[in-house]
């Protein structure tokens, strides 16, 4: 009730301006989307706020400010008092569980008078009621708050989403009048908006590809834009999709990692290595050092995509050298020979370290402490891992140095493992030899002792 009283008081102090003063054009007017009725969000700089210079108004402002300070209650409680839910219970329930219910009421987006149960009065255009916002107006409506640093500061949220959206393919097409493109609510939802950190949010990391796929996997819709509709499916089975969904890697990319979120755009040729380089920084550096960079700059190859594809990027292995290199380099060229050299070096080192890893696992069943060799082998893996990005420089000598170090460590570890295994085998042989020696010595000693006893008996009989 305190909150309701506060609302009424503020509404009286700052009555909503008539529609003609809002600079809007009826139901879809952007300026009409100001959250006029929400005292907790209202600021002095808010567009649509009517400034009054007279002293009476100033006194009233001071009084109300004081009341607001004294009677301030949690914003969520304030929302419960709105009467909209009386007629829209489903929406109310949906909205109550969303993040916006913590700070906004229905009227922030829809306008109207939340204090009355009278349908006509609540939906009166005079009270700023605009109904369901049009798709074309939604980004600007959301931007009213989300582009306002004063409002977003308390939530530690960025304020550049709306600006980014306007530069995106979606935003540019919307500005051109295409309302089929994605707007804020397509990705974030409408009443039940959840922050990205919530696992069930449509913009949570694991859900982003599904959210994008609602449009981009729609073949009919994509046909209008001459875009393929299989990207989401391809991504799901790619190395990135596997890392995201199966391995739950915290740094696995989503659609937004490469395309941007609010500023979604297809990376242009020439910038692909930079986009991939967000995560594969070392690879980008070595790529730029190698001869492929000049080819890419000359437009002769599509940078990373030439060898690794996109959306369905597979886990790269030695077969890449056999499947992709020949598409540009003939088998009898020096470039192809270089590729084969790199393939050999990398395959040998990977196989060597993997074999050592397997042998440690095998020997661990006999000698548990053999696992102490793993840290040493990890150094071998580190050389292999370093060689993988370095190969993009196509510098055979450099890759050779790294892979040689990896193989050397692998040989060292395997030698130690073999030593332990050999000793395990020999110990039973030595045990058998030891028992033969023991039994032989025992037999000889026993015979000696028996002989002495016999001699003593004979001597005793003779003496007696």
């Amino acid at each position: 009730m305190r909150s309701l009283g506060l609302r009424i008081g503020i509404a009286a102090a700052y009555p909503a301006p008539p529609p003609d003063q809002r600079g809007g054009k009826g139901k879809g007017a952007r300026a009409a989307f100001q959250p006029l009725s929400d005292p907790l969000l209202r600021t002095a700089e808010e567009p649509g706020t009517v400034r009054r210079d007279n002293s009476a108004s100033a006194k009233r402002f001071c009084t109300i400010s004081l009341l607001a300070a004294l009677l301030a209650v949690p914003a969520r409680a304030a929302q419960v008092q709105e009467a909209c839910g009386t007629c829209h219970p489903g929406v109310k329930t949906e909205y109550r569980d969303g993040i916006h219910s913590q700070a906004l009421g229905c009227t922030a987006c829809h306008g109207g008078d939340p204090t009355t149960d009278d349908i006509e009065a609540a939906h009166a255009p005079a009270k700023g009621y605009i109904g369901k916002p049009g798709r074309a107006d939604i980004p600007a409506l959301c931007g009213t708050c989300h582009a306002d640093a004063n409002r977003m500061n308390r939530f530690s949220l960025p304020t550049d989403q709306y600006a980014q959206y306007q530069t995106s393919v979606h935003g540019r097409r919307l500005a051109e009048g295409d309302t089929h493109v994605a707007v804020c609510t397509d990705c974030h939802g409408t009443h039940h908006i959840l922050p990205a950190r919530e696992p069930t949010s449509p913009v949570a990391r694991r859900n982003i590809s599904t959210t994008c796929g609602r449009c981009h996997a729609d073949a009919a819709l994509m046909a209008e834009y001459k875009l393929p509709a299989d990207q989401v499916e391809k991504f799901r089975h790619s190395v990135h999709g596997i890392a995201l969904f199966d391995e739950e890697h915290p740094l696995a990319p989503t659609c937004a990692t490469c395309h941007g979120a609010h500023g979604a755009i297809a990376p242009a040729v020439g910038s692909i290595r930079d986009v991939c380089g967000h995560c594969h920084g070392r690879t980008r550096e070595y790529f730029n050092e190698g001869p492929h960079r000049a080819a890419a700059d000359a437009g002769k190859m599509s940078e990373c995509l030439s060898c690794h594809a996109y959306h369905d990027t597979a886990h790269p292995d030695a077969t890449v050298f056999d499947t992709t290199c020949p598409s540009c380099h003939a088998p009898d060229t020096a470039a192809f020979a270089t590729a084969q050299q790199l393939k050999t070096l990398l395959s040998q080192s990977q196989d060597a370290v993997a074999t050592a890893d397997d042998e440690i696992a095998r020997a661990a069943s006999v000698s548990p402490t053999i696992a102490r060799l793993r840290p040493r082998l990890q150094q071998g893996w580190a050389y292999v891992t370093e060689a993988l990005p370095v190969q993009h420089s196509l510098n055979v000598d450099r890759v050779g140095d790294l892979t040689r170090s990896a193989r050397s460590i692998s040989d060292e570890v395997r030698g130690a493992v073999h030593g332990v295994e050999e000793e395990n085998r020999l110990r039973y042989l030595w045990l058998a030899i030891a028992w033969v020696a023991i039994l032989f010595t025992v037999g000889v000693t026993y015979a000696y002792r028996r002989e002495r006893q016999r001699q003593r008996r004979v001597l005793g009989i003779r003496n007696s």
Partner: protein, 335 residues
Amino acid sequence: MFDTLKELVRAERGRTVSAHLTGFHYLGVMMLVAFVCEATTGILLMIYYRPSAAAAYHSTAIITDEVRLGWLVRSLHRWGADALIFLASMHMIRVYFARAYRPPRSINWVVGVLMLVLLLALGFTGTLLPWDQYAYWYIDSARQTIAAVPVLGNLVLGLFWGGWDLGEEVLLRFYAFHVGVLPWLAFTLIGVHTLLVWRLGIQEPAPTRAPRPEVRTPFFPDFVATLFILTLLAGGVLFSAAVVFPPSLFQQADPLLPLAHTLPRWYLLPVRELLRALPGGLAASAVVVGAVLIFLVPVLDRYRGTSVPRLVVQRAIGVLAIAAWALLTAKGYWR
């Protein structure tokens, strides 16, 4: 000086023992051999072992995996300790039932029981040294048990723990006791015990069917030959156990990752079972009282005769104690 030595050797060459000795009469000498084995392997382990929380586990792993035959030395040391305690227990049982604790060998009984306590302490302190998970959590759980023992508990805790939590400081203390204090005390007591046995001779078996003719055999070489045979066979068993069942090394000790279940060494299983069966203070007191009674056996048994019916109580107590010990061990093992 050489004349004295020659005289001594000549006198000892004439030493004889009863021809009716059984294998049990050789247990004490076999213990001596086992102790030498423990000392030798212990010194070899000391060459590579590093007594610090940071290096103890790693050095044990190196001994096990890298040092040539290091695993065998470690395994022999571990199984040798078990063998030593086993032989000591069997030796004590033999002495009890032979009533070899009676004067003039009373003092040797007390020295022998003290040696057994020292061997248990050596085994206990040695358990912590590998500094793996088992070692850490077994010793940590033993601390609570020791603390429950009245009077002696705090003394032992003060000696071995010194008021510290289980860590670097305690490891160093255990190491110091294991290699610098207890072995020398044991060595001294073994010297005294052996000297007394040498001077007083072996308690020879009483004739079961009187009269039995007095048959004696020379100590050298007959007794020694039999001892050699038994030692070789026991050594073969020890070597086999060391080769086939080398001691495991768990993960490095982690104070933040408790082991839910740590089985004590076999010789301490009955103590733990007793502590579980009886309320803490009572069980600990029972153990202490039991140990004191074992010390006082020569005083409690004042009968000097050999009449079997009059020895029923003494035999019954012995059998019951062994049965109870075996039962508690079995219960603890199969719990």
